[in-house]
Symmetry: C2
């Protein structure tokens, strides 16, 4: 059962904390140690048994570790990598893989063979280790983006870890990951932030929010996500986010024109098309819908 | 307990069916009769006890009724009103109140004193009477938009009905309702349809949808809502929807510029502002969040 002797988590927020809790629950490591720039969560995590010990520095956390998991906002990763030797098994959970690759190249000259970039498609508008959930990854997808030089055993160990935590692991290229996520995650978050910001700028915004129901209520919830994490994602994946935003703006502009023109047939056709796509997707995934 | 002797529901979809089921469950009427243009759901509704009988025409449904509830797509309401005498207690559930007022004036010359326009802020991407839910309105708001001439007793009877079904009733003006709903319901639905349509137009759209998680999953679900109902809402509330869309587009354009300019401080400030608004709203409404 004890697959790892010492797992070091760098960045103990929702995701880092949930990985730690999930490893502990399944007894996959003899020792889980964590470092976090903001010390506060570490004490709580030790108290709750989410980690075995807190380290006062990254160097001390990763010393002797046979797995280092980095779970910090994307733009912070380069600073973190500078403290980690390239010959240890490293993985991360960043939402923009090209930025992680670039950071590796800046720090190490190449992507270390023992670095397996990863991204669990799981999250919540909650953040901080207090929201850690040992079952967060069950029935969720985890995307790994290894390259041709990635050490096979390293890849296998990271893959097995996520599978042990209940996730389904898929591999794809860095660029494909960043494009797909721009569409399914980054753009929707951008829209949610913009929508909530628009509504809150209205005269009596609290009155407006009172009449939010159903889908908007769910949607606006993602605007409660960590602003620093999302600032980093929008910035690090800028070109793909802007490209997908611009496609959306074109579509939205078309629908706007249909409404202004009173083109009920054209408007209904657009809505039917969206519904058909969503229904089709829903059928393919009905275990989660 | 039997507050009404005969309730006639015109349009037996999700909302009409849920009102019928809610009335039956609470034994508020001696008889519930329904008419629907598409006969299919009526048989099912009789079989399940959601209604007591199906009427072959609107005239027969409303004959002898002491309450008529109209629950059809907004643009259909004028046709329906032509079959209903103005001296019976009428209410509706339409999402655009000005259009209902206009339809009344076209058909009757004035809004009948016994007409109490209403709108339950409850719904689902499900539709059709098969999805009827007797508890759909519990802990939800219902907005009524009476005018100065509305008969006090009629208003009181409609208010009591919704309260008996578990809803909280609030009154507001027609124009205020239409503006608020444009922002909290109509615009978000428009964005969801446009987003799903944009993604489904991509190369391998089904692959893209597979990586949809969390907030987007919830949000895209509202694009599965009834396209005819929503076409009617966008059209009937056109000016308010376009005004609120344009405010949103301005905000979105600002955020787009911040990303392109690499203005991380400005970007973070916008996201923080949205999060603060959402968190504040969430605290005020934490029984439902």
């Amino acid at each position: 059962m004890r697959v790892f002797s010492r797992v070091a988590i760098v960045g103990l927020g929702l995701i880092g904390g949930s990985v730690a809790a999930a490893i502990q629950k399944r007894k996959l490591a003899s020792h889980v140690v964590a470092y976090d720039q903001l010390g506060g969560g570490l004490d709580l995590a030790v108290k709750r048994g989410i980690i075995d010990s807190a380290a006062p520095s990254i160097t001390e956390a990763v010393s002797g570790a046979d797995l280092v998991l980095i779970a910090v906002p994307v733009l912070t990763i380069e600073t973190i990598l500078r403290e980690i030797p390239p010959d240890v098994l490293i993985t991360d959970v960043g939402s923009v893989k090209q930025h992680v690759i670039d950071a590796c190249e800046t720090v190490y000259g190449v992507v270390p063979k023992t670095m397996v970039p990863g991204h669990p498609i799981a999250g919540s508008e909650k953040h901080g280790v207090a929201a850690a959930n040992a079952d967060l990854f069950e029935h969720h997808k985890v995307i790994l983006t290894p390259n041709a030089d990635t050490d096979a055993e390293s890849l296998e160990r990271v893959r097995s870890l996520w599978q042990d935590l209940g996730a389904t692991v898929v591999e794809m290229s860095v660029s494909h990951h960043d494009e797909v996520l721009a569409q399914t995650s980054h753009l929707p978050h951008l829209l949610a932030y913009a929508l909530v910001d628009t509504l809150s700028a209205q005269g009596d915004s609290m009155e407006v929010f009172q009449y939010a129901a159903g889908g908007f209520r769910d949607f606006s919830r993602i605007a409660a996500s960590d602003p620093v994490m999302w600032r980093d994602i929008f910035q690090a994946n800028g070109p793909a986010v802007i490209a997908s935003l611009d496609r959306f703006l074109t579509e939205l502009g078309d629908i706007r024109e249909l409404i202004i023109a009173g083109d009920t047939a054209g408007l209904e056709a657009a809505l039917q098309r969206a519904k058909a796509a969503r229904d089709h997707f829903s059928k393919l995934n009905d275990h989660r819908d």
